[in-house]
Symmetry: C3
Subunit: 358 residues, 3 copies
């Protein structure tokens, strides 16, 4: 573990958490980075150190000209990493190596960093249209948290829909949902898993987003991974024998950014589609309960289990999981694809180096 | 440091701390272990990991058939470590390596694990008859604590009775008790030390278990180590010139289980024999004070001293203690015996391997 | 980083923190040391371990004869490290290696240790006459703190006066003070830096020690390093166009003792000279505010910046600072001198060894 694709976009921080003239420190893909926002909302990101004395630039200030000024001795840098002002003596600019600059963009409420050496490719951003202000869907809460586990274990957990029946028993699955019609596959750029669980008693979360009457439902859990960080989960319920389209569901976007090889940031947002009409008080009660169930499932069930799994892996000194037929296909496909993409990237880098040296 | 005998019993948890259908995680001799108890009180212990995704089984549930079910995906294991149920798909049992199973038994209020590869030998259990419900002695409090020091330093401390005169001055010894008639020796399976301190002013603990009148006593401290984890301490007082049998004393059983090579669990229980009759209120006051003194001696005197000693050893990067004539004999005998027993065990293992390969 | 001169004096503790018959543990230059004071005020320092069982002697007691007694088994040591009493058995003194003894002296309110193998040389002590009871200057507060950074980074920070204009903006410098006439140089045994900042608006600290009227001042910051641990800072203000002698200032003595190669102790004391007369209440207010500003500058500005700098150095795995013309000269001179002095010391030690083996 501890490998990731570099030539891709990773979310580093919610845009609202970086105010005008604000600076923030984040570690992404093993690199300490300062992000800052100028007067017109522009965003820059540099390696978080001043080459003079290695003071982190994030301890400085954003100053006019959209520059960041080191808080220790006042050197100023522009968004390209170039030192553009030395307040001391005759103001000679030191010729030392500039801090690395990272391409940035803001999309879907998040600030994204391009972590590779290749040209930033906007088409690699995940499609967050369900979660934009223009979306017809009802937007749910957003959040993020830091997790002290390798990002791969969080992706494993999400690609593996079967655990909902056991670990999230009563919330997102139950004993009946174990008998799912399941499917997993891949395209050039994605890996997906789908479970269709017909005619089951509704787990609480699904009952709440559907009829809230405890009657049987057809339930689905679909997830799609797309590099670098995106997992889109589609969870929903419909009348037994009916179609997804006639049902109601929640799109839950998960974004997993590697921090170090043993930790990651986990961003999440959700949107409900086609939710039934309820009286306002009832609706409020339902929303509050949905939020509480999401928190419980993640904070009390997934997060401690993944951390415990990671500690067991550290104790064993290796990770050779057994493969269970059916339920583990998507995880295996995902692991195979991410490893191939990383090797492809290594090869492209090696070819690049060869061309330069020819 | 960091070596122990494997082919022996080590206490892992008090039986009362493992209720019916309860599971608990403990680390013993460097191995993470889940213990659980079935409906009829039976106890099993497995390596604490599920071979599917390495989730610790201790995060799961005890289910019917006396099985433990993994909390992540629901695989069920019996007490031998065999996976006996897969709830997913067609229920195929994965052929992967089963978690290691440990022989267990319950004795003296404790649950014991056999940590070696050899056949479990019940005759190696220490004799806890002083502490059984059938004992004629008055039972004292029980407890345990986790210590962040190698188990050897705790055994050194207990085998070395002379420190009571200094470190436990006023409680278990005093300046007069330094002039002890002392003796140490060994048998095939035990190492012992004995101190006889005639006609001294009584340290408080001894005064309390004897006449509680501050008058002179003959005092003794005797200790016997027996592998793997057992140290039985016999502390008592009698009228000057009289015999042990005519006196009163406390049997204190200490059990030191290695956790990792730098930490251990320390279990303790006590029983009083031949204690003088006091009025009930007086007796209650005495018991409370005895308990407070035991706590003080251990928690405020021994534990911080042993930890400080360990930190000094870590700083020096070696441990070559000076030997003081007389008082260090039992510690040296103990160290020599434990090292020989470990080498004997290594040799038996090596012979075993040779026989298999012939 | 992590190198220091051994043959020199380092302050270990304020004298007031070591009462009669008191013992204290300190780590100095990577060595764990117990210091204790006898009845007549004498001070001794030994390596903080008892060769019997490695118990730290600092957990013991100071006993008659100005000895320290181990708290575990009662061996007593004199200030030379010789074991002089064994209370057990026939009292045989173990022949094991004695704990190392360190020459000590008390000066300027501090207890100093000589950390080298050479003969202690009193002439190497810094001159603390400004801070003695006999000084004509008004004495300010004293203090010390532990810092989790290599001592070199603290000395770098102090030798580099230019950072006051930025990091301590408004307190000890400001935008106008960047335009300083600055100078740096060295003698055989010292490195100094001086800044003269004429006709500037007064930063608050300087205004308070001068006229407290907000009118322009000529300001100076002068610092002198002297091995092993001493940095004397002279900060003051005078009427524009006038002389230092006519002005008012603060002598601030900084003493930086290496603890380990990644931590240090930082002692500080100050004395005001030629301070203007104010009404008593006004004077009290000024003193309180000066103290608050010193705390803020160090605890909220320097200490977190130096720690952040150190963390960036650890992340980068190297420290190759850029050099800014003018402002970095004193730091470079200091680094060059300390490195040469350490090599000289290594060479002297090597020659010593050669002479012995000839």
């Amino acid at each position: 573990m501890g490998y990731w694709i570099c030539n891709n976009w990773y979310p580093a921080i919610y845009g609202d958490d970086l105010p005008v003239r604000g600076a923030a420190a984040r570690m992404v893909c093993g690199e300490a980075i300062v992000l800052w926002r100028g007067d017109a909302g522009e965003i820059w990101a540099l390696e978080d150190f001043c080459p003079h004395r290695y003071a982190p630039l994030s301890r400085g200030d954003v100053v006019k000209g959209n520059r960041i000024r080191c808080g220790y001795h006042g050197l100023e840098f522009d968004g390209s990493g170039q030192c553009v002002h030395n307040p001391h003596g005759r103001g000679k600019i030191p010729s030392s190596a500039a801090p690395r600059a990272y391409p940035t963009l803001e999309y879907g409420g998040l600030i994204w960093l391009w972590m590779g050496n290749g040209d930033p490719d906007r088409s690699l951003l995940p499609d967050l249209s369900f979660f934009l202000p223009t979306s017809p869907f009802q937007q749910g809460g957003r959040g993020w948290l830091h997790m002290d586990v390798p990002y791969e274990l969080v992706v494993d957990n999400l690609m593996d829909l079967s655990h909902a029946s056991l670990l999230h028993d009563g919330i997102l699955g139950n004993e009946q949902s174990i008998r799912a019609e399941s499917e997993a596959g891949e395209s050039e750029s994605e890996v997906f898993a789908r479970r269709w669980m017909p005619n089951i008693d509704p787990p609480e979360y699904l009952d709440l987003i559907w009829m809230n009457d405890g009657k049987k439902i057809d339930m689905w859990h679909d997830i799609t991974w797309r590099p670098g960080a995106s997992l889109l989960l589609d969870v929903g319920a419909t009348e037994p024998g009916s179609t997804k389209e006639a049902g109601s569901g929640v799109y839950a976007q998960h974004l997993v950014t590697p921090v170090t090889d043993t930790s990651c940031m986990y961003f999440f947002m959700s949107a409900r589609r086609n939710s039934p009409n309820h009286a306002p008080e009832e609706r409020e009660r339902i929303e509050a309960r949905l939020l509480a169930l999401r928190r419980q499932a993640f904070a009390e069930q997934d997060a401690p289990m993944i951390r415990a799994q990671y500690e067991a892996i550290l104790r064993k000194g290796e990770y050779k999981p057994s493969i269970l037929p059916g339920i583990d296909k998507a995880t295996v496909l995902w692991r195979r694809k991410i490893e191939r993409l990383i090797r492809d990237e290594d090869l492209a880098e090696a070819n690049q180096a060869t061309m330069r040296s020819e």
